[in-house]
Symmetry: C2
Amino acid sequence: MKLKKTPRATVERLPIYARCLALMAKRGLRTVSSSDLADRIGIKATQLRKDLSYIGEFGTPGVGYDVEELLWQIQNLLGVTKELKVALIGAGRLGQALMGYQGFKEKGFRIIAVFDSDPGKIGTIVQGHHIEDINDLEKVASEKHIDIAVIATPTGAAQTVATQIVLAGIKYILNFAPIALILPDDVNLRQVDLAIELQILAFYRAEAERKRDQQD
Amino acid sequence: MKLKKTPRATVERLPIYARCLALMAKRGLRTVSSSDLADRIGIKATQLRKDLSYIGEFGTPGVGYDVEELLWQIQNLLGVTKELKVALIGAGRLGQALMGYQGFKEKGFRIIAVFDSDPGKIGTIVQGHHIEDINDLEKVASEKHIDIAVIATPTGAAQTVATQIVLAGIKYILNFAPIALILPDDVNLRQVDLAIELQILAFYRAEAERKRDQQD
DNA sequence: AACTGTGAACGGGTTCACAGCC
DNA sequence: GGCTGTGAACCCGTTCACAGTT
């Protein structure tokens, strides 16, 4: 067993493995081979085995992996066996969509505080969440021990909010605002930009069109 | 000038370049060097130049790039100089957030049809969009010439919807449902899974905790 | 002098080939 | 026979070093 540092690419696939294993467990499947699991996900079996080799040895040669066991190992590694506390900043349409998103709860995340800067929203209750003043973030974060912050504000507010998040001592940020945030090195950032995904599709569409035009 | 096939990794960065350049153009900046632009984005200057080298030669040695010109070239390559038509499937909370998302319009995407399967929603108007029956997708798609479909349905409906999208002849899909869709090879798929991003952050958080526990 | 464009070197990630185990 | 775990080979993407341009 080698146990080198888990490569970034592997880390980004672990949640996908967990998702698939959870589904299989729910359906009552007991064991799974690397090729079976890989097929369901749409990757090569060797890649799956290599990924798992970075985090341990969970399989039985000639048999495969125990579904429950492997799921538990991955969830444990992801640190989602205990519930993680999430602060959501921005109670606009995207923020509301995130509040209602079942996937968070299922995967072990709990939105425990919601902030906004709009006085018209602060103090109201949206989908069961009491909306708090963004300026209270630091106070609330220390009281409630927030693990992760999610930025769902308009672009213009995102950098200010990010700075407040850092001041509040939160080190893990998921940002939906389409802007490159400036953050200290020890803060972990994931960026989701909805428009970028469409633009990537647009590129391949344009490329296909160019190819067609060229050939005819 | 070489013009090999543009690497996947480069394609995924082009929208980021476009976003930054658009901002600079709006602020009235005329030219930019590779190191300046790279710094704003948070990458190395050599990577930016290498990326651009795949798509052409747009710079002037000793000077840099013309902001407007480079922006136009990238937008052209992305095929977003003409407006692209998007069909949104699923008018739930996420769907509504997407309808209201300014970034799509700004980047040249237009939500031109919205579908749902809920009889209570079909026929109503949400944020100015007439909600149509998902079973009319094929008809509407051929009438309105849809370029890209966005799946914002519950997980359970996603595969069925995806199949309908393919039947409607749409070849570019952005999927928000947390499921591995089975699609023909010639269909282009991008996947955004909100929970996965949080789980990746959770991994690094758990890793940091493990490291702490070990040392103390 | 300042900056671009690119071959070459490097490094991380994927795939192959196979040894070892059930 | 069927399957896992893994070194080695391979491939792709990033970075370096520098030749070439204004």
